[in-house]
């Protein structure tokens, strides 16, 4: 046997092969895919539809027993009309859109991306446990590629799931803003790409030396609620207490959600959108770079 490989090798060889392996494991198991999508659907249909905040301000939900003589029917209709105007303007001012469902459905895209990224560390743990990682480490594939493949597959999975969630949200009644174009959609993907890259880098870094999936689970459980609720994904940060607002300002989920919401629901504020992308870009670049640098040192023991 003579060897005739190795001379003209692409330094990124193996990157796509490893990414594709993780993706195959994912799409060959439709149950995992389904579970990843069902959860945001449950959130959307329960929280998004149940919390019909606009309905609080209707004549049906407010009664006027103390008023004497009782209001005539036309007067009631008039007040009802006025109330619903107040309601939609309150909704508009608070959520930027008249219906809460649209508001939180877009937040759900950040949510699904966040969850996919969080569990990306798990596959690293399993690869180490099952010896697959050792086999890969004994081949000339670049250490950075091993980590990048994990990040890349998490990003692709996240984007596909976010697309499905967006599609379902649209079916369930998401009302897209008047200025929505294809370019906006590209912007949405760019924002989701950056946040999933940054988040999955963090969670893969946590898993880089770990052989215990329990630890990973604990970290995911610890971080998912703060990441979710200390952001504007479900509720506007501007209405939160000051200390919580400070946290939302460093939470990347806030920026991803703000960017996607501007692009899908609102009229884009270029200045704010630039800040969002700047933050998300820095977040993604910093953590994936740390990941690649540390993979050289810490992937092998």
């Amino acid at each position: 046997m003579s060897r005739n490989n190795g001379n003209s090798k692409n330094p990124l060889h193996g990157l796509w092969a490893l990414t594709n392996r993780d993706l195959k494991k994912w799409y060959k198991n439709p149950i995992i895919l389904m579970l990843g999508i069902i959860q945001p659907i449950i959130w959307m249909s329960l929280l998004g539809k149940a919390m019909n905040l606009g309905a609080i301000f209707t004549s049906n939900s407010i009664s006027f027993p103390q008023i004497n003589p009782p209001l005539s029917i036309p007067q009631q209709i008039q007040i009802g009309q006025w109330l619903s105007n107040v309601a939609s303007s309150a909704m508009q001012n608070t959520f930027g859109t008249a219906d809460y469902f649209s508001y939180m459905a877009v937040g759900m895209m950040s949510f699904v991306v966040m969850f996919t990224a969080m569990f990306s560390g798990m596959s690293m743990v399993f690869d180490r446990r099952l010896g697959f990682l050792n086999k890969v480490l004994s081949t000339p594939v670049a250490r950075g590629s091993i980590l990048m493949a994990k990040i890349l597959s998490a990003v692709i999975r996240a984007l596909v799931q976010a697309t499905i969630v967006l599609g379902i949200a649209y079916v369930l009644g998401l009302s897209v803003g008047a200025n929505f174009t294809l370019l906006n959609l590209l912007g949405v993907y760019a924002a989701l790409f950056l946040i999933s890259m940054g988040l999955s880098s963090i969670f893969i870094l946590i898993a880089i030396r770990s052989t215990r999936q329990e630890t990973q689970m604990a970290v995911v459980n610890l971080l998912n609620l703060p990441l979710m609720f200390a952001s504007n994904a479900l509720f506007p940060a501007s209405l939160m207490p000051d200390w919580l607002q400070t946290i939302t300002k460093i939470n990347p989920v806030t920026y991803a959600t703000d960017a996607t919401r501007q692009l899908i629901l609102y009229t884009v504020d270029m200045h704010q959108l630039a800040i969002d992308f700047l933050f998300l870009g820095a977040f993604a670049v910093v953590f994936s770079t740390i990941g690649i640098v540390l993979s050289w040192r810490y992937l092998s023991k």
């Binding site: 490989n5 796509w16 092969a17 195959k24 092998s300």
Partner: protein
């Protein structure tokens, strides 16, 4: 391959600053030979192999694998070795061929070339029929063969096998041995394997090294090691119980020691098969009639016992104790995780 395939000098691995897993180990593996690495569980076999295949950094010392230094030129080593790890590492969700192609991609082998090689190798390990089946449906023996195919995809100079027959049934073990012999014979491949099946090492390996507590305590060809124990044991009985032929037998070349016990002679002899007829001829020449004869060769078991102070069977029996030890070792390895992560 000519010259030395692996040269190991003072190779040392210390986990957590106090657990010495491999302690200044020195050995050389010649090109084209099958080298067996023997030792009890937890002796440092896998740690050594992991350093040689560049997935574990040595604390001290160095090793050169096919002329590449394992620390200074790790990628050079990785390019010319093939590895079959102890665990089944093939991906259960992928098919056999997908797994082999994945390995090919990790070595950066061009697509048209790797497809050809993958088909050839699957043919070699007799998995062609099952190549499009998910690995989850494979038996243990099929998985082991798939691991072999994956390890051979880059046409390695040096092939590392960590416990290649662990947990396999007798038939699959025999088949694995045949593959290993074939690789050496057909392709002149250097094979480095760890095992704790002594008959396996005895039958397959050109040379072996026995490692215990991280140190190499004996090395050489299996036959030399066995002979270092003093040779074969021949027992002999003659018809005339009163005669004493001890002195007569002692004069035969290669006879080391003769003892008479209850009319039976126990003769320690080098190269038993060749010397036995000479002894019989000598006894007959003096007019004695041989009524009983047996020849036992010392096995590697006895060598192992001699050097490690315990037999391999005791090892098997106290498996639980060793499992605990292994866990401790694994934990020690894991505890160096970054950021205080356990």
């Amino acid at each position: 391959m000519n010259g030395d395939a692996i040269v190991v000098e003072d190779l040392t691995k210390v986990f957590n600053k106090n657990l010495v897993a491999v302690d200044h180990v020195n050995f050389t593996v010649k090109g084209g030979e099958i080298f067996g690495f023997l030792g009890p569980n937890g002796a440092g076999k896998t740690t050594t192999i992991n350093m040689l295949i560049t997935i574990l950094r040595p604390t001290e010392g160095s090793a050169v694998v096919c002329n590449h230094d394992i620390t200074k030129d790790a990628n050079g080593v990785r390019d010319c070795i093939g590895v079959v790890p102890q665990e089944y590492t093939a991906d259960e969700d992928l098919t056999g061929i997908e797994n082999v192609m994945l390995c090919a991609d990790l070595y950066g082998i061009p697509r048209d070339e790797s497809k050809k090689r993958a088909e050839e190798l699957l043919e070699l390990v007799e998995l062609t029929k099952f190549k499009d089946k998910q690995v989850a449906t494979y038996s243990g023996g099929m998985r082991r063969r798939l691991e072999l195919a994956c390890g051979l995809i880059n046409r390695p100079h040096v092939f590392f096998l960590d416990e290649p027959t662990l947990g396999l049934d007798v038939q699959t073990r025999a088949a694995t041995w045949n593959y290993i012999k074939l690789l050496k014979k057909e392709f002149g491949m250097t094979i480095f394997m760890t095992t704790h099946y002594l008959e396996e090492a005895d039958m397959l390996c050109d040379r072996v090294a026995i490692i215990d507590h991280g140190k190499i305590i004996a090395s050489g060809a299996p036959n030399d090691l066995k002979e270092s124990l003093g040779g074969d044991i021949m027992t002999l009985r003659i018809q005339d119980g009163n005669a004493d032929i001890s002195d007569l037998v002692k004069k035969v070349p290669k006879v080391k020691e003769v003892k008479k016990q209850d009319g039976t002679y126990r003769i320690k002899v080098v190269d038993g098969e060749e010397t036995a007829p000479t002894i019989i001829d000598a006894v007959r020449a003096e007019g004695h009639k041989v009524t009983r004869l047996s020849l036992t060769k010392p096995t590697l078991d006895e060598v192992y016992l001699e050097y490690t102070g315990r037999s391999i069977r005791e090892e098997e029996e106290s498996k639980e104790g060793f499992a605990a030890q292994r866990m401790a070792m694994r934990k020690a390895r894991g505890a160096r995780a970054m950021g205080g992560h356990p």
